[in-house]
Amino acid sequence: MNIVVCIKQTFDTEAKIALDSQGKIDSQGVNLIINPYDEFAIEEGIRLKEQLGGEVTVVSLGGERAQEAIRTALAMGADKGILVSDPSLEEVDEWVAAEVLAKAVEGISYDLLLAGRIAIDDGSAQVAVRLAEKLGVPSVSSVLKIEADGEKITAVREIDGGTETLEIPLPAMVTAQKGLNEPRYPSVAGIMKAKRKPLNVVSLADLGLNAGDLSPKMVVDSTALPEARKGGRKLEGEPDQVAKELVQLLRDEAKVI
């Protein structure tokens, strides 16, 4: 079974977020990791390959540094990597990402597509689903368990207050929820082998796409850091009076009631 895993490189969860002089998030000197949900997807892809044979191709969209993330996936046991990297892709929305990834994935023979449920940096959970739509394959999100037999898969996914078991014909897209598996660490031997595995860096032109046709449908106007938490205020006096004052403040100042 051939599997494609879509991954995103994100900030380390402990990274300190700072804005640069243009008011954009500054990634200089920040440690980057594979989006943790995508790691579940990689692990699942490798496990299914180990079980059923085939190849795992990791696909990502990002800057030069995203190669590190793909190398890590290769060190874990994936077979090939494709990175779409293009200066014009610096600011993309989910629509653009899905359009570009669809082109990149089209050229690969796949039975199953895997991705993380959500990206931890911007909280986006759209790309995998949009990609499935674009490719015309069914998708199941937030999956906790996958069983595959080459023709179809059985997936268990989270629903409100329980789980749901679905049978899906292949090819299909599945997004990984925490709990799907415990991702392995790349072994030293895996790291050494990874550099001999193919990693293609392709541009939009290589994919036959034109930057002009890919202007994002959503544009970020500005980015701001959350305001530092202010100290609380203590109201003192008789209970009746304090309660009144509190209600007043909640309505006029905090504007929550």
């Binding site: 700072a18 590190e68 072994s187 031997a189 790291i191």
Partner: protein, 589 residues
């Protein structure tokens, strides 16, 4: 070999930035390996540190097996024998991250370093075939047994004996080995015993009849590591278990300690960075007078000093890794390479001792200030810094006390000078002759000026050593008061030079501006601090060795060599602190 790259040669020749390796030059594999190790140790071992501290049965062994599965135990073992034939940089990056697992780092280091390496470097091909695959996978754990109740620093005073049996097939070992790391669960013991009064190294297996163990020692720190006596009573060890040559166990023991010291330094610089991170995190959360601790200059200055010392030691360790890798990379470790290995590992004995001393003292400084930054909470066991403080202390004691390691520096230098391997005395004489010209101010600025200062520091070091050798003569080698001063000077020179050359090299690299700024500021702050220490010791050595007119002449020369532009140390500390506090960690990690 070019003088600048010979062991101890840095003192006599100019070294260029191209000749030092820097952590900025690690390749993508090294970085992946470093990240993987940190992740593995933090996630798999981190949550169990408390249980590990209580020596929960089987836990250390389990972690070793996991590390083995990932390949972390086989970095220095040849591929043909189940290892990965990695370079020395891999050893360093892994060594730096393993201390995130507290005491596990000690079990790990004892096993992969002094436990396994005697076989890697000095074993016969048969011994390698037999033992290395198991040691690489973690199926077997190794321990190094040199120390005895009556002989610690005086390792050659060991009393354990080995006598050949009548059949000539086995040596019969008797004696007690003390403070043996991993003794509680190791399978393979590299035991040093005397055959006809001469130290010889044997592989002893746990299940050989006559091997028994003392109870676990109750220790100040590294409580999660096993430390016991290994008692040998008429243990029959096959003759083919001799490692290295019969009667030349000291070659194995001391050369393996060279690598061990270098590896210890890697672990210590990693640990110091962890202590720094821990203190930074605390200071960013704890409030006094309405603001967090990391806003106070008194605290920020501490962060600047810790980070600067970390930078100095890190520069030294990676530079030494470069040297060690160069000298070890052509060894054919699959075959019998005893002779070549002995020579290779001996080359940088001085540098390895300097690594050990510097890194262990930087770590002690970092944890001590780390506790201080925590205030009273630093004294409470619930806070990790309290454990780090206790765990740090052993590093100045094991693998040769820092005193022994310091004494080895002038001792080895003098020995090499006598053997004609290093033109030390000639260099010292040249300095006296050149004194007329050295005081001239130079137009250099910034890092170039700093490198000028290092050049003068070397001359000062040589001058003081020359005076001591000339005036104290044969008495010098037994005058430890003076020798310790000389060792300190050499230590500071090595640290300063490593820091400056790295900072210069980094300026042309593709790293962030903050990275360049940090290395420049830290190198400057670190070098000026080091120069102050060096100056003090030079003066002490000179005053002890000379008197009268000759003393005045030498002190006048010294003034020329210590003349340096004034810098705003407080300003530098502020700049470094800004970078450290902003990043919340060792800023170039």
């Amino acid at each position: 070999m070019e003088l600048a790259l010979k062991g101890g040669g840095f003192l006599l020749a100019d070294v260029t930035p191209e000749q030092v390796f820097t952590p900025e030059e690690l390749n993508e594999d090294h970085l992946q390996l470093k990240r993987m190790t940190a992740n593995f140790v933090e996630k798999e071992i981190g949550p169990h540190i408390e249980a590990l501290e209580e020596q929960q049965e089987g836990l250390a062994r389990k972690f070793m097996a996991q590390a083995g599965e990932l390949g972390l135990l086989g970095l220095e073992i040849p591929e043909e024998m189940g290892g990965l034939s990695m370079d020395k940089y891999a050893t360093v990056v892994v060594g730096e991250e393993v201390p995130r697992g507290a005491s596990f780092a000690v079990s790990f280091a004892a096993h992969t370093g002094i436990g396994t390496l005697p076989i890697v470097y000095f074993g016969t091909p048969e011994q390698k075939e037999k033992y290395l695959p198991g040691l690489a996978s973690g199926e077997k754990i190794a321990a190094y047994c040199l120390t005895e109740p009556g002989s610690g620093s005086d390792a050659l005073g060991a009393k354990t004996t080995a006598v050949l049996n009548e059949e000539g097939t086995h040596y019969i070992l008797n004696g007690t080995k003390q403070f043996i790391t991993n003794a509680g669960f190791a399978d393979v013991f590299l035991v040093y015993a005397k055959v006809d009064g001469k130290l010889t190294n044997f592989i002893v297996e746990r299940d050989m009849p006559g091997v028994s163990f003392g109870p676990e020692e109750k220790k100040m720190g590294i409580k999660g590591s096993s430390t016991r006596e290994v008692i040998l009573e008429d243990v029959a060890v096959p003759v083919e278990n001799i490692v290295g040559e019969l009667g030349r166990g000291h070659v194995v023991a001391f050369n393996i300690l060279n690598v061990g010291r270098f590896k210890l330094a890697a672990a210590a610089i990693g640990s110091a960075q962890i202590a720094l991170e821990t203190a930074l995190k605390y200071a960013s959360e704890r409030k006094q007078f309405g603001v967090t601790l990391d806003t106070f200059g008194a605290i920020r200055a501490k962060f600047a000093e810790i980070a600067t010392q970390c930078y100095m030691a890190e520069s030294v360790v990676y530079r030494t890794a470069g040297l060690m890798d160069e000298v070890c990379k052509d060894l054919d470790l699959t075959g019998d390479c005893r002779k070549e290995a002995g020579k290779a590992l001996e080359e940088y004995a001085i540098e390895c001792s300097l690594n050990k001393v510097l890194a262990s003292e930087v770590l002690d400084f970092a944890v001590d200030e780390g506790v201080q930054i925590h205030g009273g909470y630093g004294f409470i066991s619930e806070y990790p810094i309290e454990r780090m403080y206790r765990d740090s202390r052993i590093n100045r004691l094991f693998e040769g006390t820092n005193e022994i390691n310091r004494l080895l520096v002038p001792g080895t230098l003098l020995k090499r000078a006598m053997n004609g391997e290093l033109p030390l005395l000639q260099a010292a004489q040249n300095v006296s002759k050149d004194l007329m010209s050295v005081g001239l101010p130079s137009d250099n600025e910034g890092l170039e000026a700093l490198l000028d200062m290092v050049g003068k520091a070397k001359k000062l070091c040589l001058m003081a050593a020359g005076i001591a050798a000339q005036n104290l003569g044969m008495e010098l080698k037994d005058n430890q008061y003076v020798l310790m001063g000389m060792a300190e000077m050499v230590l500071q020179v090595y640290a300063m030079e490593s820091a400056v050359l790295r900072a210069m090299k980094v300026q042309d690299m593709d790293v962030t501006d903050d990275h360049k700024l940090f290395v420049e500021k830290a190198a400057t702050l670190g070098c000026y601090t080091a120069m102050n220490i060096l100056e003090q010791h030079a003066k002490e050595v000179i005053c002890a060795a000379a008197e009268g007119d000759s003393l005045s002449t030498v002190l006048a020369g010294m003034r020329k060599l210590t003349r340096r532009p004034n810098v705003d140390m407080i300003g530098l500390r502020k700049d470094v602190a800004d970078l450290v506090v902003e990043k919340g960690k060792y800023p170039i990690r």
